[in-house]
Symmetry: C3
Subunit: 320 residues, 3 copies
């Protein structure tokens, strides 16, 4: 992965993703050993729209590896956009840093950035496109809970039409194969056909579409919750009627397997009740940690910085 | 203090504060020795309202100890507040960092943050509540000027009704005892009764209320100046009549003891004339330095990071 | 240069600038050797108006030397300006950091800052005044392309009336001497008389004023392009007629020497066509790198931090 830009998950092979998952697991238990992996490196976080949680995750990842960070976010960017193209900004910043994380409201901006830059660029979200490190965080959470990202029954619940994190997750899981998807949504917010086609094209994967969470929750290994936004509905009545169906609380959770994992890309509004937070099945704050770990794995990989001790760890794993 | 959150000064015992004062003194003269105390640590500065001077002080403190900083301030926070509770933000950020400094416009926000976080939280100001590290800076300045924080006559001058730094300082000095307070203010801006009660409840402390600075300045060991804001007055005439009485200049300072210390929480507007800055009695920029030193002492203490050489230093002090 | 503030280029002697040029050259080829030159140092970037590219350059420079950075930019500064003078802010910040880079919309602000601060202050732009590190970047680019900053024919093209970077460059080159200036602009945007006087006062320098780029481009060793802003013209017709004359593209570049260097202070709008970027004569992104290198040289010099190995390098150069 050395020198590679990561704009969509297709830039990473299944083997690449597997390596990143292994690296994340290693980093989590070897914080001190990896703390100087990126000594002398500098990351630029170029956030043309604010996304504080994503920015802080990328930045912490680099700091925890011994590197440094420069950048801008939201309101500070006035002087950057003033008459300067993304290409020119990236050609400039390539003189300062070793790797860039970019967030931009326009689709395609991250690709333009990667083409102009002479250093690796990681897409931290551009318009409606994918946000690859969010999906990496989701995969790492399945991996840490189940020791695998396939051979699982995974429920995806809520807004399956507009929630791009679920589309990206489904597509990536199809590359690993052997997943049964339970797609739980009101009829207004069903999964788009192109995503269903992707599942259909994968012999080892299958799906069911249902509208009731409680009827299927008992079958699930993992439940991926998403926000159901009021403005997606045709009228207020439909929204009010349906909303509660897609709120996860301890009552609904009582019907689930004792080791089911609850994921959510965060921030949540009210689709997971507070009382779920202390349930051991709640995995969404772990997911935040996994996001940081995967960003550490990715940043060090595209920089070509070797994690001390990782090779021995991986060989031992393979031998075992 | 390891793992402790500091929301108000009541979270710190007199013994804790004494240790912090000793640590600050040690740090000031052993900058190089302590420069790696917090290697590998990360501080988050979560400033939901801008307070640049406070933020820079917390950040410098961590950097001077070898740690790193992430965070947001003011305009960058849009995406954080967008539908996410303080609790969820703190649960997220707890996955990234080792200690948090939070500033928020709402009273109680820092406590909510501390309860959600799994790492220590330091209150950098929330609404009308206390701002404990400001008072720590004030105490460190008395300590550095007089070698003690009691056995002193301390004048507090200006707006004693709304100035929360003076209330916090009085209450904390009462815990140390043996302080005589001279409360100097126009009648419109007198010290609130609950603060006077606190002094009355401390046998070793006493107070007098006066309206004229010049008549008492000669008695003072320290003079704590505050801003007198125009909008606190019922009418412009009163303001104009009284304002100058509470401006400290070289003429008034000529009446003071040669080793009196002038403190001010800063920023000042015009309540201390520029010509006072070069007077050796001016201690308000020293106070800024002491604020940073006390934040270094506090950050390292709640992290449980030992200052190299401090134990030997402290034992020698006790023996002497 | 230890402890020196740099507000205008006149603060630096020709010998100082020569040392900085040598240091920048050394740093570029000895990145690893200098990576800990400023360990333990902290830079404050106080940007009272946003200027992201300049801020990132100053910050990267300090990080690449092993130091750390605090600061504010644009929207974050509300609390700083609120009733506090630049002097008080600098007296405060002097307690936190070892060196300051300041940007302010008002002329003279950097000088006021330097007078109040107890640490070195570097002007990163104040109002219409000079921006000394931009000119240092320009000089370093000539030095790296030609091995010298004199004995050159230098074209300056575009808006020579309002472009303060060209005035500063001309004045500084006159101090080195032996430069022939070709001043290429529409008659509305000619070089001011005081700059021409500066050239006239330098026996070894000369100038010609022309309005056509193509007729002189073949004579040039270096071509310094600037923006021609629409609002500088009396009417739209003049603007449209003249604009294209001052756009550099591959067709015009075909008339130039094979080793001519194209400089531009950036950001560009459309005065250099994209197709020029891949021409080896394009030096404007190199200029960005040189800006960072000169800031590394300057920051370490005013801090008195010795670049490991530089003295031996310099002695060898002198001997050769």
């Amino acid at each position: 992965m050395v020198g590679m830009s990561v704009i969509t998950l297709d830039d990473l092979s299944v083997a690449n993703i597997t390596t990143l998952l292994n690296k994340a697991r290693y980093i989590d238990t070897h914080r001190r050993e990896v703390a100087h992996t990126c000594d002398g490196r500098v990351l630029a976080t170029l956030f043309y729209e604010p996304s504080t949680r994503t920015r802080l995750s990328f930045e912490t990842a680099m700091l925890r590896l011994g590197g440094q960070v420069i950048g801008f976010a939201g309101a500070q960017l006035a002087s950057v956009t003033k008459g300067e193209s993304i290409s020119d900004t990236l050609k400039t910043v390539s003189n300062y840093v070793d790797v860039v994380a970019i967030r931009h409201p326009k689709e395609g901006a991250a690709l333009v950035a990667a083409e102009a830059a002479s250093v690796p660029v990681i897409n931290a979200g551009d318009g409606g496109h994918m946000h690859p490190t969010q999906t990496l965080a989701d995969l790492a959470t399945l991996q840490s809970r189940f020791g695998r990202v396939n051979d699982l029954t995974i429920g995806l619940c809520g807004d399956l039409t507009f929630g791009r994190t679920v589309h990206s997750l489904i597509e990536t899981l199809c590359r690993f194969g052997n997943v049964r998807f339970i797609l739980i949504s009101p009829k207004e917010l069903r999964t788009p056909q192109y995503v269903l086609n992707r599942i259909n094209a994968t012999p080892s994967c299958s799906y069911e579409e249902v509208s009731d969470l409680t009827s299927v929750i008992g079958d699930l290994d993992a439940l991926y919750m998403t926000r159901v936004q009021k403005e997606r509905f045709f009228n207020e009545d439909d929204y009010l009627r349906l909303r509660d169906t897609y709120i996860l609380d301890e009552a609904k959770l009582a019907l689930a397997k004792p080791d089911m994992a609850v994921l959510h890309p965060l921030p949540r509004v009210n689709e997971i009740a507070k009382d779920v937070d202390n349930d051991p099945r709640a995995a969404y704050f772990e997911q935040v940690k996994n996001g940081m770990l995967m960003r550490m794995a990715l940043e060090s990989s595209v920089l070509g910085d070797t994690l001390p001790g990782f090779d021995a760890f991986e060989n031992k794993e393979v031998a075992a």
